[in-house]
Amino acid sequence: MGYQISTERQALQATFDIKGVKAAVARKLSPLGLALPSDRNTTSRSNDITLCWIGKSHWLLVAPAEMETQLKASLVPDDTTHDCRVVLVSDVFTFFSITGPQANDIMAIASPLDTRPKKFPENGSTFSELFGIRGLILRQPNGFTIAIEQSYADMVAAYFRKI
């Protein structure tokens, strides 16, 4: 591998797609001790749960797979009686980590997103273009975590093997 990076296909993550008015989403998440991120395209964290603010009235909650049952009980996906809608989408995404001193260089190849810290902070999370497809980008201490639709996972893994 020519670049000083390490890429790893991560295990399945419990992922919930949340849409709704801010106040209703905040109420829904408060039992988890999770506050809404204060800035657009950033995350908030509580224990192992990460909440990404990815659109005007749109959030994505990501947690380890073993928390899925507990989170389902708390978030009650597909419950229409609330002002926000929660959909379990764990099977939609495949997550990869890209770490190492040249992780930024790989992101510059994969995405047009400006990942300089001034534009994409430590708690940054956003959807952008990744290898020509739509993908979620999260910053982590030594690089990035990306999530792409599962059907593209083998294609992206093949790209990583080539670089």
Binding site: R40, F127, E129
Partner: protein, 81 residues
């Protein structure tokens, strides 16, 4: 490369967006002539100057928004959100 001002994400590269075409004047009245109807339905607005057009942040936050873009200089004059 064109960068577009998404109302949620801020300036982003053109490749993240899908052009939704120019915004149209209101749908004509039912008494309109065939020729006027065809003009409204099929003839794109393409001035040398500013055109109001819709964009979809398809690979980003999913927002639809309207801008005024100069068809020659690509200057973006207005963002409606």
């Amino acid at each position: 490369m064109l960068t577009l001002p998404c109302p949620f994400c801020g300036e982003r590269d053109e490749t993240e967006f899908v052009n939704g075409g120019p915004t149209k004047p209101p749908r004509p009245d039912i008494t309109v002539t065939n020729s006027e109807w065809i003009d409204w339905l099929t003839v794109p607005i393409n001035p040398i100057g500013y055109v109001e057009e819709k964009w979809w942040h398809a690979k980003g936050c999913g927002a639809w928004f309207t801008i005024k873009r100069h068809t020659v200089t690509h200057d973006i004059a207005k963002l409606d959100g």
